[in-house]
Symmetry: C2
Subunit: 249 residues, 2 copies
C-alpha cells in the first residue's frame, strides 16, 4: 500500500459545504487525524482508525499523521474551514521541515474548504466584496503588539478585516482591546458582523455599528468581519440588513 | 411559484470543488445568469433558461437576475470561485440598493465557494497559513494610486498577499509596476507563487523567488500569492517545493 496524507477542510459545519473532493478522500482513508471535535464530525466507517487529539498540539498531531503516511497508511488530517487558513496545513509543513528527510517526499495534498470568513460573509451579504485581510487575534504564537500594528495598518489600507479566534476563555481581554483600537481608528458608524457557528444549529449572526459592538458578542466559535469605510447596510423589511462592500471601494 | 435568487460560487473549475449546497441550487433553478464562460460550466438541463452575458456588465446582469426572481423564477447567478470575493455578490447588492424597494425583500442567498487564492494555496502548500490580505489589481473601479498604497501597507504589515486579476490585455503595465514595487519593498528573496487555472486541465503552478518573477508569468487566469517575510520553501526530491507560512509569523 502506498501511503498518502491529505489535509482536508471540512468547512464551517454543514455537510452540504464539504466538497466532493474532501468527501472522496474521507471515503478512501484508513486513518483520520485531528482535533477531536473535528474528527467527530466525520461519520464513523468500519476499518478507519480515528486519532482525535486535544487542542494546541498541532505539530505533534501533524507528526503522528506523517508517520502513519510514511508507514503506508492513507491519512486524512481534518481541519474545520479551510486547512490553509489558521488551521492544520501550516502545522503539517512545520513538522515536515523539522522531521526526517523522507517526509518531504511523501504524497501530501491540501484539499481546500470553505473557510469561516467566506461562510460568514455569504450569510450576511458581501462584506468581503473588495480588498480585505484576515488576522488571527490569538496571541499564543505572536506578540499582542504585532496584532495591534497589523490592525492599525489594515485600517489605514481601508481593508475589510476578518478576525479569526477573536476571543477565548484564556485571553478574554485581547478582543476588548482590539475593539477599542478599531472604534478609535474607524469611528462608531463602521459596520461590523459577528458570525457564530455559521451553518450549524448554533448559528447566530449579528450586524451592528461598531459603536454598539461589545466584547461579549464574540466567543471561540465566532468570526468577526469589520467593514471598510465603504461598506454599506441595506435595510430589509422585517429582517437583518444585508451588509456589502461595493466593488469600487 | 415563489421566486428566489442564489448567488453561487462554482469554485476554481474542477466539479469536485463545487459544494453540494451549490449543486442543489443548480438542480432547482429555472434560470442561470452569469458571465457566459461560467454559465457554460454548468451542465445543460432541460427547462432551464440560460442567460449568459459579456464581461464588465455585472450590475446590468444582476438587475436581470433580480427582475427574474421578482417575477417568481428560481434564479442562480453563477460566479467563479467564491461569489463574495471579487465576484458577483457585491454587484447584486449594488443593484438591490439602486433598484425598486421590493428587491430588498426578495429571498436572496449567497452560497460560498472555493475562491482562487485558497485553491492556489492548497496546491502549493500553505502560503496563507498566517495573517494575509487579498487585493484586486484591476484599476477598472479604483485609482492605481490606491492599489500602490495598499500594497505598501500590506508589506509593512507583513501580510502574505494574494493578488487577484493581476494582468489583462487592457492593462499589461500595472502588474509590472506592482512587481517592481514589491521587489523593492520585500527584497529579491521573498517567495512568490503564480497559480494559473488551478484545478483545470490548463493548470500551471510556479513557485519562485521574487527576484526571478517576471510580469509574463501572470495572465487573466492567474492568481498570485506573495509570501510574508516568514514564508518558507521546503525542497522536494524531483518536484516543486512546498511553500508555507508558519503559524507564528
Amino acid at each position: 500500500m502506498t501511503g498518502w496524507l491529505a489535509i482536508a477542510g471540512l468547512g464551517p459545519g454543514d455537510p452540504r459545504l464539504v466538497t466532493p473532493e474532501v468527501q472522496a478522500a474521507l471515503d478512501h482513508a484508513t486513518d483520520l487525524v485531528g482535533y477531536a471535535p473535528y474528527v467527530a464530525r466525520v461519520p464513523v466507517r468500519a476499518g478507519v482508525a480515528r486519532h482525535g487529539s486535544d487542542n494546541r498540539v498541532e505539530v505533534e498531531r501533524a507528526g503522528t499523521a506523517l508517520a502513519l503516511a510514511a508507514e503506508g497508511r492513507r491519512v486524512v488530517v481534518v481541519s474545520s474551514g479551510d486547512p490553509g487558513v489558521f488551521a492544520m496545513a501550516s502545522a503539517v509543513f512545520e513538522a515536515v521541515e523539522a522531521g526526517p528527510e523522507a517526509w518531504a517526499a511523501l504524497d501530501i495534498r491540501v484539499l481546500p474548504g470553505i473557510t469561516a470568513m467566506l461562510a460568514a460573509a455569504a450569510r450576511a451579504g458581501a462584506p468581503l466584496g473588495h480588498d480585505f485581510c484576515a488576522i488571527n487575534l490569538s496571541d499564543n504564537l505572536k506578540p499582542w503588539s504585532l496584532i495591534e500594528t497589523r490592525l492599525r495598518l489594515a485600517v489605514e489600507a481601508d481593508f475589510a478585516i476578518a478576525l479569526y479566534n477573536p476571543r477565548s476563555r484564556a485571553r478574554p481581554q485581547g478582543f476588548a482591546r482590539a475593539l477599542a483600537l478599531l472604534t478609535e481608528a474607524c469611528g462608531a458608524d463602521r459596520a461590523i458582523l459577528f458570525a457564530r457557528a455559521v451553518s450549524t444549529p448554533d448559528e447566530r449572526i449579528e450586524v451592528v455599528r461598531l459603536g454598539a459592538a461589545t466584547p461579549e458578542m464574540a466567543d471561540m466559535r465566532t468570526v468577526v468581519i469589520l467593514g471598510s469605510s465603504r461598506t454599506r447596510l441595506i435595510a430589509r423589511p422585517g429582517g437583518r440588513p444585508f451588509v456589502y462592500t461595493p466593488r469600487s471601494a
